[in-house]
């Protein structure tokens, strides 16, 4: 009998091209699916050309435009040009590279365009047991399907294009077991912010996380994607969730999904992926979310999160060597140690990003905003994750709920998650944002970010301050 294996080990072993002949050499790992976008790919194609190489398996690479594309609705309809010549240059370069190498590209005017980690799963590109990479750290999102998915650098993008494989050292495994039932008004975003606050922003370094436990099983696929998306904010390149009936029915619901024998064979294979009884992880942590509150960040990394009713820690509560970074973060945020977070004014609310821009995220926020108006002086941007999400939301009338409430309904893209286009905070402004990073200047130089769930974002837009969504009838 074979030794029991974890989900990660099964996927890793299936993709091992060869065992290294010498323990000092890295393994060669086969890559099933490679996603690319405009920002981290140009130098990789240049490298390929310099070496006289071609793209070895063009059908395994899919491209999108997302990071720097404008989100004014007129843009995707071709009625607006990219204002910034350098950004436009990158988009042109991606277009050229994809057409030269026969790579499918979803341009901004394509009905399938979207943020890379929203687009892949919704098109059924991401499947259980696959290896998925992209020159983007939030590739961990795809792990929600039981795929081994992780971000890579631009040199590695070139390597995958040329060989369809990567050199890797085998990571360790960390099981994050999440138990308990999430309370009313709480979402997968609160769950993962709670986990990161618990294990720390480097708690998963060197490890692949497998999320297990009843609270994970209870999440739908979009919630699982939100969780896996933020694995990198805990230092893990990849986070995985074993596929189950929730996964299979999601995949089956996608239009044109294979039927009959192909589907049945796939299902049988996928059912063998979950971690075997008796398999062991290098580390295991358990988190209980039964009494979790909506979580909001106050500082400049995603681990600096507190319950919305809580107070910012006191500096004395920290190790002396952590104090400097803590105080620097508070200076940047212009917040006081010990102060409450609830009630802090915000000028901007951003509902979007590959963490929280899927249909269920928009539905949750719209449900709260229906019949309400956002506070005067607050700007709320709603940026759907893809054209498909946008169309589905419009078919349900969610766009009208947002615009009636006074929010902006925009075209898909990364937008204010990283402020590479025109969507950005002014220096000193505060945003309640559903994205994944509150780093200094991430949403615009001098801008300040509170991370939270779509419900917390919607509630905060209504009051113009950081608000507990449970205070509003949902």
């Amino acid at each position: 009998m074979q030794a029991p294996k974890t989900l990660f080990e099964k996927v890793w072993d299936r993709h091992l091209v060869s065992e290294p002949p010498d323990p000092g050499l890295p393994s060669v790992l086969y890559i099933d699916l490679h996603l690319i976008h405009e920002v981290t790919s140009p130098q990789a194609f240049t490298e390929l050309e310099k070496r006289g190489l071609t793209v070895r398996r063009p059908s395994r690479t899919i491209a999108t435009m997302d990071h720097s594309t404008p989100t004014e609705p007129e843009f995707s309809m071709g009625r607006l040009r990219v204002l910034d010549p350098m950004g436009a240059g990158q988009l042109d370069r991606l277009r050229e590279n994809c057409s030269r190498h026969g790579i499918t590209l979803h341009t901004v005017s394509s009905p399938d365009n979207g943020i890379v980690h929203v687009m892949g799963p919704e098109q059924g590109l991401t499947q259980p047991g696959m290896t998925v990479v992209c020159g983007d750290s939030h590739t961990s999102t795809h792990g929600a399907f039981g795929a081994l998915a992780f971000g890579i650098g631009t040199s590695e993008v070139g390597q995958v294009l040329a060989t369809q494989a990567l050199l890797m050292n085998k990571p360790k495994t960390l099981a994050v077991r999440v138990e308990g039932v999430l309370g009313e008004g709480l979402t997968a975003k609160d769950l993962i912010l709670g986990v990161i606050a618990d294990i720390g922003v480097d708690g998963g370094t060197g490890h692949v996380i497998e999320y297990t436990g009843s609270a994970i099983r209870a999440l739908d696929m979009e919630g699982r994607m939100t969780v896996c998306n933020m694995s990198i904010e805990a230092g893990s390149r990849a986070g995985m969730i074993a596929p189950d009936e929730v996964t299979f029915s999601y995949l089956e619901s996608l239009n044109g999904s294979p039927r009959g024998d192909v589907w049945n064979a796939a299902l049988e294979d996928w059912r063998g992926l979950p971690t075997d009884a008796g398999a062991s992880y290098d580390r295991l942590v358990t988190v209980d979310v039964g009494s979790l509150e909506p979580m909001v960040t106050y500082g400049t990394n995603p681990g600096m999160a507190i319950p919305v009713s809580g107070a910012i820690p006191e500096a004395d509560a920290l190790e002396p060597r952590e104090r400097e970074a803590f105080l620097k973060a508070l200076r940047y945020m212009d917040l006081e140690p010990g102060a409450p977070i609830r009630g802090r004014p915000v000028q901007v609310v951003f509902l979007g990003s590959c963490t929280n821009s899927r249909l269920s995220d928009l539905r949750a926020a719209a449900g709260l905003l229906k019949g309400r108006r956002i506070a005067s002086g607050v700007r709320m941007l709603v940026v759907p994750g893809s054209q498909r999400v946008k169309r589905a939301a419009e078919a349900e009338g969610l766009d009208r709920i947002f615009t009636d409430a006074g929010a902006e309904w925009r075209a898909p893209g990364c937008s204010m998650c990283l402020a590479m286009n025109q969507d950005r905070l002014a220096p000193g402004e505060y945003a309640l944002s559903t994205s994944n990073r509150n780093f200094e200047g991430r949403q615009g130089p001098g801008g300040r970010t509170f991370l939270g769930s779509p419900l917390t974002a919607a509630a905060s837009a209504v009051t113009g301050t950081v608000t507990d969504p449970r205070e509003m009838a949902l």
Binding site: R14, V17, S18, L25, P26, V28, Y30, D32, V39, T40, L53, S59, I62, S68, M86, Q90, R93, Q123, L125, Q127, G129, M130, S137, G151, G153, T154, S155, G158, Q159, A162, T163, A165, L166, L167, D202, T205, I232, G235, S236, R237, L254, N255, S257, P258, V262, A266, N301, R321, E322, E324, A325, K328, M420, P427, R437, F439, E440, G441, R442, P445
Partner: protein, 209 residues
């Protein structure tokens, strides 16, 4: 890639924990299709004032640190985005080695692939070095990749661990890409062995919607 053996300099201290790659190189500098302008973008938000003039207090600007090839950082350096522009920018500024308490995974791999050495010091020795640098900013350290050791200003040494393949590539100025290309026959054999049918769609990712 140029071979790396050892480097001696007075380290530039930037000992904060969790310095993310958005700080190392902000997104506004990522619009290049080559590696132009990355040194200008290095730590841009910390190095410059809102009006664009250099911040005189920032460690990288101090005259005594000019030209130093060693950076001393804190824990979890390089967390966040996978942008390889981060090690490119550090190298464009002139850094050859980074000493710290810990590095984020993606940054570490990106750095090594470009021949930028990262050295993880044990916490007590990291604290010692920081104290040295604060007390005697001109004191020099040597980072010796061949011997896998750091020589402190007082002559004491600390040995470090590093991925043997990364070390081999750096010492010999080799590029890991070449090694991967040598594996192409094995990759082809893998594809043939696996055959179609592992994934719906005959093993190729394809749209099923």
């Amino acid at each position: 890639m140029n071979p790396f053996t050892a480097v001696t300099d007075a380290p530039v201290p930037l000992p904060l924990d969790n310095v993310d790659t958005d700080q190392i190189i902000p997104a506004s500098f990522l619009k290049v299709v080559d590696r132009e302008g990355l040194a200008d973008g290095l730590f841009h938000g910390w190095r410059t004032r809102p009006d664009g003039t250099p911040h005189p207090d920032f460690a990288l600007h101090h005259p005594r640190h000019r030209g130093s090839r060693i950076l001393l950082v804190g824990d979890n350096f390089g967390c966040g985005s996978s942008r390889e522009h981060a090690p490119w920018a550090l190298q464009a500024w002139g850094f050859k080695a980074i000493l710290g308490r810990g590095f984020a995974d993606i940054f570490l791999g990106n750095a090594h692939r470009n021949g930028l050495l990262t050295v993880t010091l044990p916490p007590d020795r990291h604290a010692d070095l920081l104290e040295w640098v604060t007390r005697e900013p001109a004191a020099q350290v040597t980072v010796d990749l061949e011997a896998k050791k750091v020589v402190f200003p007082d002559g004491s040494t600390v040995l470090f661990e590093i991925d043997p393949f990364a070390r081999h590539c750096m010492l010999n100025g080799l590029d890991p890409f070449g090694h991967l290309l040598e594996q192409l026959p094995a990759i082809e054999a893998f594809e043939a062995r696996r055959g179609p049918g592992l994934q719906p769609g005959g093993g190729e990712p394809r749209r099923i919607s």
